[in-house]
């Protein structure tokens, strides 16, 4: 009998605690996967790319990490990871052969791999030989609304990606991935 009573109490507590599990309106892993796949496809199908041919003037493209202006907390790794996933989805070889587009690692990576700060000081132009002509940047923004007494929260995320011509400051490709996440009940954000 005692055993059954204990079981009943444990069950009750577990159920009650389970209902208190905080919810979140943060960007989910699936959102990142869907976003990067959509943006990679958009870039590949963009006018900027489709107009190019093997005879085009070469483009050398670097990626910059996400400029996060949203309420979402992103680590440096996540900020770089998102752009790496967009770049990684491009068929690198065929882009060069068919479109004369090459991707280079960010200058900071090159400098880091080279070695010490002294080396950079000795040669401040290190990295310029890469001849970067374009850069892909991304900016995340969000609009947050919170329910009465902090009960529930909704975030609209607008994640904008653009490829910028560094000679003219003009975007040659731009697209935005927008989505909304909502959480009701006890919210953890």
């Amino acid at each position: 009998m005692k055993c059954w009573s204990t079981l009943a109490i444990v069950l009750f507590l577990l159920s009650a605690l389970g209902c208190q599990t905080p919810q979140t309106s943060r960007i989910a892993v699936d959102d990142y996967v869907e976003m990067t796949a959509a943006m990679a496809q958009s870039l590949r199908q963009s006018d900027a790319f489709t107009r190019r041919s093997p005879a085009s003037e070469p483009w050398v493209v670097s990626f910059d990490k996400v400029l996060n202006l949203s309420s979402e907390i992103m680590t440096q790794g996540e900020q770089w990871g998102v752009v790496a996933m967009v770049r990684g989805a491009q068929p690198i070889n065929s882009l060069w052969n068919d479109k004369r587009v090459a991707f280079v690692i960010p200058a900071q990576y090159a400098i880091d791999q080279r070695g010490t700060l002294d080396a950079e000081r000795a040669d401040k132009g290190f990295g310029s030989e890469r001849g970067v002509t374009h850069t892909v940047t991304s900016t995340f923004r969000s609009v947050t609304r919170v329910g009465e007494g902090g009960n529930g929260r909704t975030d609209v995320y607008a994640c904008e990606f653009q490829m910028l011509d560094l000679n003219t400051n003009e975007p040659v490709w731009l697209d935005t991935f927008e989505f909304k996440r909502t959480a009701t009940g006890s919210v953890r954000d």
């Binding site: 159920s15 919810q23 910059d64 609009v143 919170v146 909704t154 609209v156 400051n169 909502t182």
Partner: protein
């Protein structure tokens, strides 16, 4: 005593089952369509995100329709350069970040629209491009003829930021005002294209939305 304990136990078991089956449905975390308005949004006294999205779409479509008649843009052969200007946020509750979302959305829609490509040229903020150019070691030697603009010197080289002709350069500005009376808020939003040469407002799009909190 034993009957009492059994009754308590039965009650606890029933409560646990009920909580498990029904109670936890009170909390939820999911993705919803961007156009859907959620309960937390309705409970919040700030402007509804769907109003912001409607303004984005309305302003972009209206600018595209008005382009053939906007003085200074329609009657010049070259593309007008558009810079994103300041947001004049005079609301008491809504963050300027929210209106940056609106302006960037208008810009994004216009850049993607085929109709604007022959007439408008959007450029990124000078400071941001300078930072990228410096970080990426972009040393652009200016062509002799096009050698106008400001030379930005950095560690290993220099970079030319193109100058824009004031006569064909416009700022996209936004003004927002709020009048609040208790649970009712009136939001006035206006997007403007302003000539850099004359400071004249050559185009404007405005909406007024009234919002009532229903709690």
């Amino acid at each position: 005593m034993k009957t009492m304990t059994s009754r308590w136990m039965m009650m606890l078991m029933t409560a646990a089952l009920l909580l498990g089956a029904v109670g936890c449905k009170g909390t939820d975390s999911r993705r919803v369509p961007v156009g859907e308005t959620t309960r937390p949004e309705l409970d919040d006294k700030r402007q509804l995100p769907v109003s912001l999205a409607e303004f984005q779409e309305g302003a972009a479509n209206d600018i595209l329709q008005a382009l053939p008649t906007v003085r200074g843009i329609s009657d010049t052969p070259e593309r007008a350069t558009i810079l994103i200007g300041d947001i004049n946020n005079k609301t008491s509750s809504v963050s300027t970040n929210d209106y940056e979302y609106v302006v960037s959305g208008v810009r994004s829609r216009l850049i993607r629209a085929q109709a604007s490509r022959d007439k408008l040229k959007f450029v990124e903020a000078r400071r941001r491009v300078e930072n990228i150019a410096s970080k990426e070691r972009v040393a652009t030697a200016p062509a002799p003829v096009a050698a106008k603009g400001e030379e930005i010197a950095w560690g290993g080289g220099s970079y030319y930021v193109p100058d824009y002709d004031a006569n064909s350069t416009y700022g996209l500005f936004m003004d927002v005002y709020e009048i609040r009376r208790g649970k009712t808020g009136l939001y006035y939003m206006e997007a403007q294209l302003v000539s850099f040469a004359t400071n004249e407002i050559v185009y404007s799009y405005r909406t007024e939305t009234k919002q009532v909190i229903d709690r």
